[in-house]
């Protein structure tokens, strides 16, 4: 079987089915009005806003944490820094919900932090409850996806000519100026490529949001799951899925464009 046909059978055909289903009601009759209704519905708009908010906040967090970590690991080496860099890499290999599970043990209502605080200060209720909110999801996603920024940044920093940093320093530039004017410009392609990838992955993140189960925090993937599996509203699920696919492909296109133009 030609590779293109295999790809079409395994990937494009199921996608085409989803898009087709978005235009048909559950009895197979064309129903474009349902698309308009879903696009104007509160649950869809809320999910869209949540998805964009969480993915943008998580990507910003990943960029900041990844940049700081990469700068330290690359330019302020300390004993064990190489090991830590490799250890952070292993996060890429782990299922995303495992971090959420670990967060539950750490920061959950009955987690170590709350138990410790309640016991130490004789508190009647858990004082830390950010985990079950939008910010809990963002924190988990930052933890999971920071390596996707860190890895390309470390690669970019390894190519920065140390002579440029030394020349800048001798010319009178303090460390922050060197980071801003010498190191960061060299890392822009890696930042854009890593950031775009992060945005793409966080838009589609399902496991973390589901596992945290924050009240009222419904994203597009979670909404698709709810409509399709819990409510059996397949056309609604497919309409949202189609929007999700369009969003993802748009972001992927931007990522490829950025990566291609900046040589990342």
């Amino acid at each position: 079987m030609p590779p293109a046909a295999l790809l079409a059978l395994l990937f494009f055909y199921p996608l085409a089915l989803i898009i087709r289903q978005a235009f048909l009601d559950d009895s197979g009759v064309a129903n474009a009005a349902e698309i308009i209704r879903v696009l104007h519905s509160r649950f869809f708009l809320n999910a869209l806003v949540n998805t964009v908010t969480i993915s943008v906040a998580a990507t910003a967090g990943c960029l900041i944490v990844g940049l700081v970590l990469a700068l330290i690991l690359a330019f302020v080496p300390f004993p064990g820094s190489g090991f830590i860099a490799r250890l952070i890499d292993t996060f890429i290999a782990l299922p995303t919900f495992l971090v959420t599970l670990a967060f539950t043990f750490l920061y959950g209502s009955a987690g170590m932090l709350n138990s410790g605080l309640m016991e130490t200060f004789s508190l009647p209720a858990p004082p830390v409850d950010f985990l079950y909110s939008t910010w809990g999801v963002v924190l988990a996603e930052v933890t999971v996806y920071t390596p996707f920024i860190l890895r390309p940044l470390l690669a970019a920093f390894s190519l920065v000519d140390r002579g440029q940093i030394e020349a800048a320093s001798v010319l009178g530039a303090r460390p922050l100026r060197i980071v801003r004017q010498v190191i960061l410009p060299a890392a822009v392609p890696a930042l854009i490529a890593g950031g775009s990838l992060c945005l793409l992955l966080t838009v589609n993140e399902f496991g973390i949001v589901l596992f945290i189960g924050a009240k009222g925090v419904i994203t597009l993937p979670l909404l698709i799951y709810g409509k399709a599996i819990q409510e059996s509203a397949y056309q609604v699920a497919c309409i949202i899925a189609t929007i999700n696919i369009a969003l993802s492909l748009g972001l992927f296109g931007l990522y490829r464009l950025a990566a291609g133009r900046l040589g990342a």
Binding site: Q164, A167, S169, V170, L171, A173, R174, Q181
Partner: protein
């Protein structure tokens, strides 16, 4: 006050005072640098006078770059102090030392235009816009790169990039300019031109103190007022360039700084009032410039290849005889290798007899006592 600009072809008048550095001296006071238990720079005490070019030369791993990096602030001495002018800079970070530095690979900022590269140090030091504009213009004029201000480094040749790197270092009016193998990445022809241009630059900026690290003896001989020869983390010899070349204090210096023929001799008569001693090599009685050799001392008579002649005249009164082994014609020069009682002697000649002797023939060599130097036979350093 005007001076010739730093250009290979066109000459521009610039105001030398505007780009002149403050001209501080650099003083190494028993500076030791070690990585763990491995000492890479043994106690170094050395002074570079204001406005002087000191070339540090030596083989790889001799400690010359370490010494320069200690001045720049990238290497912290395990002990000892470094002073620039009246300031003890040992504990200062590089950005507070007031230096300029040019390195082998130029280290220009690739995302900045030439003018922004040159302005970088001034902006970092908080200079105002008008001053930055003026200094950038002057520095680029000094290195003959005014026409390239809007270009990016990738649009320049290696030689042009190195000029921009020099302009960038000069724009901040450094107290001391550090040059770390600045011409090593250039090809031979451009390197020769750049050496001449750096010499011209220093003539136009006589107050600028320069520490020039290189492994290339030609660069050192052409540019330096003084040379420090490094070996195994120590200064093996230090002095005015012509003195070190003409009167090397030891075998390593003689052989590292230019080519040297070292003929084993025994001192027959110590130096008289004119500073010349008599020495014997086999049956030959030779006269050579002496230090404090005594009669009976075993010595080496250092004679540079270009000072050996195949023809006698009133000045070339010393005579030895060797067996011709090899002849290498190299255009401007012809190199001959002779065997003088087991010691290879190289001759670099611009003029040769019309009939060149055959290989294996006995050939007399003549040289002037003034072109020789006796040095201790046993001093390996």
């Amino acid at each position: 006050m005007s001076a010739a600009a730093f250009t290979g072809s066109g000459v521009t008048d610039i105001d030398a005072a505007k780009v002149r550095g403050a001209g501080s001296n650099v003083h190494f006071d028993k500076v030791v640098v070690a990585y763990g238990s491995h000492v890479v720079l043994h106690p170094l005490t050395l002074d570079i006078a204001p406005g002087e070019i000191l070339a540090m030369i030596g083989p790889s791993g001799s400690g010359k770059t370490t010494a320069l990096r200690a001045v720049a602030g990238f290497v912290r001495p395990a002990s000892g102090r470094i002073r620039i002018g009246a300031t003890d800079v040992t504990d200062l970070p590089p950005y507070e030392r007031g230096l300029g530095m040019v390195v082998q690979n130029y280290a220009l900022f690739p995302h900045m235009r030439v003018e922004d590269n040159v302005a970088f140090g001034l902006r970092a030091q908080g200079a105002d816009k008008a001053l930055i504009g003026e200094r950038v213009k002057d520095a680029l004029a000094t290195v003959g790169m005014s026409a390239y201000a809007r270009r990016y480094p990738r649009e320049l040749s290696g030689g042009q990039q190195q000029r921009v790197a020099i302009a960038r270092a000069l724009a901040v009016r450094p107290r001391v300019l550090l040059l770390d193998e600045p011409l090593s990445a250039l090809d031979a022809q451009i390197r020769r031109n750049m050496v001449e241009e750096i010499a011209r630059l220093h003539r136009s900026l006589p107050g600028l103190t320069i520490l020039y690290v290189t492994h290339d003896q030609t660069e050192a001989l052409t540019l330096a007022d003084k040379i420090a020869i490094m070996r195994d983390g120590r200064v093996c010899s230090h002095g005015p360039t012509t003195d070190l070349y003409r009167r090397p204090p030891n075998r390593f210096t003689a052989e590292f700084l230019g080519r040297a023929n070292l003929l084993p001799v025994t001192v027959a008569e110590a130096a008289g009032p004119k500073g010349f001693a008599t020495a014997r090599h086999g049956d030959a009685v030779l006269t050579g410039a002496a230090r404090d050799e005594k009669a009976g001392d075993k010595s080496l008579l250092c004679i540079r290849p270009q000072h050996l002649s195949l023809t006698a005249d009133s000045e070339h009164t010393n005579r030895i005889v060797g067996t011709l082994r090899e002849v290498h014609w190299q255009g401007e020069l012809t190199h001959l290798v002779l065997d003088v009682d087991g010691t290879p002697m190289r001759v670099s000649a611009t003029k040769l007899p019309v009939a060149l002797p055959e290989r294996g023939a006995s050939v007399p060599l003549f040289f002037s006592p003034a072109d020789t130097s006796l040095l201790p036979e046993d001093a390996g350093v």
